[in-house]
């Protein structure tokens, strides 16, 4: 639909579903909206005051008038129902359901930077070859990722518009979600929850590359990570809420 041109590129497996939902809602609320507008303006123009003409006396309890209001509820309720069903379906797929993962990244928000911990060549989190990047998330196309979202200080929001993905990072919680990139490219990651004066200065980038390019990147970076002796966390942020041991406890 023409409305899709308003939206950013659809780069995740579920972006198209959300866009479809957007289109359906536009259609379903657009129709009643246009009809209401038509009646509204038609009534204003049709019933302008004329000299010597008295208005009708309608109490609004007469069945012949009231039935029009009541009948209007049938389409509205039907449209509502369609929207609810579709919305819940999309919501379930994106937020509640957790498909089998192929790789896992950790996303750690803090004032005012993103830390992304990618698994190394072994594709396992929490090992020495993990690749820690600041404000850069590298993922491979057509691979299903889980992300574990944490915050070190205040609320942040991990928002990737091209994925249609958004989730608050809440301190004290580890929130799991998933995405599967479907097109390659480099896109914005925004922080979508106000997090202090640097809220506007938290841009990160997501790099989606083909499987082979991504594998090459992982090889290169995890070798470099292994070469360094310190743990992935040292040097990342010295904020008041230093990395707590609890945060390591990310498995259920």
């Amino acid at each position: 639909m023409i409305l899709d041109s308003l939206l950013p590129a659809a780069a995740s497996s579920y972006a198209a579903d959300i866009d479809t939902l957007f289109d359906v809602i536009t259609l379903l609320v657009g129709i009643p909206f246009l009809i209401s507008c038509y009646l509204f303006f038609a009534f204003i123009l049709r019933f302008k005051a004329k000299e010597g003409h008295k208005a009708m006396y309608i109490t609004g309890t007469e069945h012949k008038y009231m039935k029009w209001i009541h009948r209007a509820h049938i389409p509205i309720l039907t449209f509502d129902l369609v929207i609810v069903v579709m919305a819940v379906q999309v919501w379930y797929d994106v937020k509640q359901d957790l498909p089998e993962m192929e790789s896992e990244v950790r996303v750690i928000a803090q004032q005012w930077a993103w830390t992304f911990v990618h698994p190394g060549a072994d594709n396992v989190q929490g090992t020495a070859d993990d690749i820690t990047k600041i404000n850069e998330l590298h993922v491979s196309i057509d691979k299903l990722y889980h992300f574990k979202l944490e915050s070190r200080d205040v609320l942040h929001n991990f928002s990737v518009p091209v994925f249609r993905l958004k989730q608050d990072a809440v301190p004290g919680r580890v929130i799991t979600g998933w995405f599967e990139p479907v097109i390659a490219g480099e896109f914005d990651i925004q922080c979508a929850e106000i997090c202090g004066i640097g809220h506007g200065l938290m841009p990160a980038r997501i790099h989606i590359s083909s499987a082979s390019e991504h594998a090459a990147w992982v090889q290169r970076e995890s070798a470099a990570a292994l070469a360094q002796t310190h743990s992935p966390f040292t040097g990342v942020g010295t904020g008041p809420a230093n990395v707590k041991p609890e945060l390591q406890l990310v498995t259920r």
Partner: protein, 142 residues
């Protein structure tokens, strides 16, 4: 302003007060049996009864128009609603696709007997005892 309740003499109120005291004693003695469900029943069930006695006999809610009762109950229902809406997040230490690691750890430490709240330990989140627990206030050391 008065209607039916004016008919009562002072003795009626003294009688209600005596009931209240009896219930108070029961709710106080109940927990001493150290049966948890009984504690809950005596503590909160009796609180409900006492509140009802006060609201009906002292506050004369029945003498006020019916909508007063409705307004008060509506508020109570809204509060339950608030509880029901917020509890799945605040009361739980884990849910669909999220966990609160600190709460889970604190609960584990408590279950394992590593910490107790007998003294005035730090926040539940840390679970680490301050160490200078007081004997007078203990009572709950395992």
């Amino acid at each position: 302003m008065s209607d039916d309740h004016a008919a009562h003499g002072d003795s009626h109120y003294v009688k209600i007060w005596a009931y209240l005291l009896v219930f108070l004693i029961i709710s106080f003695v109940g927990p001493m049996l150290e049966i948890q469900w009984l504690t809950l029943v005596t503590a909160f069930g009796i609180a409900g009864i006492k509140a009802y006695l006060v609201v009906v006999n002292f506050m004369h809610i029945n003498a006020a128009p019916r909508f007063v009762t409705y307004a008060v109950t509506t508020t109570l229902v809204f509060m339950l609603l608030f509880f029901a809406g917020a509890a799945p997040d605040v009361m739980q230490s884990s849910g669909t696709n999220w966990i609160k690691p600190a709460w889970i750890e604190a609960e584990r430490a408590y279950e394992a007997g590593e910490v107790s709240g007998g003294g005035h330990g730090e926040a539940a989140g840390h679970g680490d005892e301050h160490g200078d627990g007081h004997e007078e206030a203990a009572g709950a050391h395992h």
